[in-house]
């Protein structure tokens, strides 16, 4: 593994390049796009496992933190959909320079899937895209996070006798589940309409979906109609993204990792 900062010196991004760990290395690689907020925190371990599996299958991998997340520069107030899509473009360029790959696959989880789709549509030269539990409706996503945050303030298991906690005011008003979520960022995310992206500009795409994934059917139909749907892999279980009791739990998803590896031809 090779961790380092890349991008501009004013706004460095943390990246982690993983070389192939198989004797027959491919000239293909997979760029991994994390979710944001508490979903990023939950899924870091699974991304490590996924990267390792892909490398064992002979693929290069690159994962990185968006502006204002993880070890990268700035705070969430510096982030936003356009900034993060630009980060993906920078990461794809950096990945190609570092590894020499000719074929680029991109995997995104949750909001990372939306960003990967948008960045790919804008043109980062991706050959294959895997959207894992994408946030199909940004407005509904923010509404769910808000409802979870409000429920958390009333959670006696969390705050004991201090429960219920009052919603913060002033400089701490704009927060959701442990992270500052400035109004402009919320507005950005609310505008996400994954099924509304121009499917003609999307690379060949595989959907990896937990059971009962709202809105995924419309996305699937649009991709299929444009001839961009490479496949759909349904996971047997429901996800716990919307469950308050899970916000501090590591997102362990061996079935999802298997599905992504299959989609990337890394299951052999």
């Amino acid at each position: 593994m090779n961790p380092y900062f890349f991008g501009s010196s004013q706004r460095p991004l943390f990246g982690l390049y993983g070389p192939p760990l198989a004797s027959a290395a491919a000239d293909a690689g997979v760029l991994l796009c994390y979710p944001a907020g508490q979903e990023y925190m939950r899924s870091h371990w699974t991304f490590r496992q996924l990267a390792y599996r892909l490398q064992r299958a002979g693929l290069h991998t690159f994962r990185f933190d968006y502006t204002g997340t993880g070890d990268s520069a700035g705070g969430l107030e510096d982030g936003g959909i356009d900034v993060w899509c630009e980060d993906i473009r920078l990461a794809a360029d950096e990945f190609r320079d570092t590894s020499g790959i000719r074929e680029l696959g991109v995997v995104g989880l949750r909001l990372g899937a939306d960003l990967a789709l948008k960045a790919s549509t804008a043109g980062i030269g991706a050959n294959h895209l895997v959207l894992w539990d994408p946030v199909v409706d940004g407005n509904a996503h923010i509404e769910r996070l808000t409802a979870m945050h409000e429920a958390m303030l009333r959670d006696r298991d969390r705050f004991g006798s201090a429960c219920p906690r009052s919603p913060a005011s002033g400089r701490y008003r704009e927060q959701l589940l442990g992270f500052p979520f400035p109004d402009p960022l919320r507005a950005d995310i609310r505008r996400i309409d994954t099924a509304g992206e121009d499917p003609a500009a999307v690379p060949a795409t595989t959907l990896v979906l937990a059971a009962e994934h709202p809105g995924a059917d419309v996305l699937e139909q649009r991709l299929a109609a444009a001839g961009r749907l490479r496949g759909r892999q349904d996971l047997g279980s429901r996800s716990d993204w919307d469950e308050l009791s899970a916000i501090n739990n590591t997102f362990l998803a061996p079935e999802g990792v298997d599905a992504v590896c299959r989609a990337m031809g890394a299951d052999r």
Partner: protein, 281 residues
């Protein structure tokens, strides 16, 4: 403030980010942030990153890194099943910082199992001159039990709710399926192990002897389990003269992970104030 990635350890398998203040050379301690359970080095809700950058603005360098097998650090070829392996990783971190000219004395920061490692690391290494423990070790006293159970005993309605809640917990655990394999939170490595009180008292005496400064922070997240009033720490060890080395601060309305920004800001204020009072002079 500058940040750079470092890899270190005998096998260079340990990954961290070093945060350096613009003005170095004030002989302030370097902080070392340890993993909280399985979470990687950025900490719960990116707490370690935010605090590292805030402290750098005050002149404190810091390192946040992943113990072997966690976050982005690979397991060492010798394996990490040894419960003392994290202590070797901490020693490698301090060696790297010292050899790189980033400090000669250090403050270890840990939440939950990170506090466990911070305490054990401090006991073993005299270069550690301070520890910051969030929901670290705590020992129950009779006052703890009075505060814990008296309200229920004095109120029949609360008593009934308490019994009902406990019965519900017992039944729900009994109904839990066996599952299809161990989860990380069931891994013994991540379970809380409270040392024997006499052993911990011995450690505290040794740390006070070395004039190691200790900040213990407790939250509502542990108030029903093991710590529920400000002076409990001193009450648990009435025979120890802490000689100004100990500060205990309760955050009775904050949760275990300091999820709310306003709680985290108050906790950061407590930590920066404590650091400045103890190390800035």
């Amino acid at each position: 403030m500058k940040e750079r990635v470092v890899t270190f350890g005998p096998e260079r398998n340990l990954v961290g980010v070093l945060t350096q203040p613009d003005q170095a050379g004030r002989n302030l301690p370097a902080l070392v942030f340890l993993n909280a359970g399985l979470l990687h080095r950025v900490g719960p809700y990116r707490m370690h990153v935010d605090l590292a950058r805030r402290l750098a603005a005050r002149g404190y360098p810091s390192l946040r890194f992943d113990l072997a097998g966690r976050g982005d650090s690979a397991r060492a070829s010798t394996g990490t099943d040894d419960p003392d392996a994290p202590l070797a990783d901490i020693r490698h971190a301090l060696d790297m910082l010292e050899e790189g000219g980033h400090g000669t004395h250090f403050v270890l920061f840990g939440l939950c199992t990170g506090a466990d490692h911070a305490h054990r690391g401090a006991v073993l290494d005299p270069r550690v001159t301070g520890t910051i423990m969030l929901d670290g070790y705590g020992y129950r006293t009779w006052k703890f039990f009075v505060r814990r159970y008296a309200p229920a005993l004095l109120s029949p309605a609360r008593l009934l709710r308490s019994i009902s809640s406990r019965l519900g917990n017992i039944l729900s655990h009994a109904r839990e399926p066996a599952g299809d394999g161990p989860r990380p939170d069931q891994d013994e490595e991540f379970l809380w192990r409270l040392p024997a009180k006499a052993d911990f008292a011995g450690d505290l005496r040794a740390l006070v002897q070395r004039e190691t400064r200790m900040l213990y922070i407790y939250t509502a997240g542990v108030s029903s389990d093991y710590y529920n009033y400000q002076d409990q720490f001193r009450d648990a060890f009435p025979d120890i003269d802490f000689r100004g080395c100990l500060q205990v601060q309760m955050f009775p309305d904050a949760d275990h992970e300091f999820t709310l920004l306003e709680d985290r800001a108050r906790m950061f204020d407590t930590i920066t104030g404590w650091l400045d009072r103890n190390f800035m002079s």
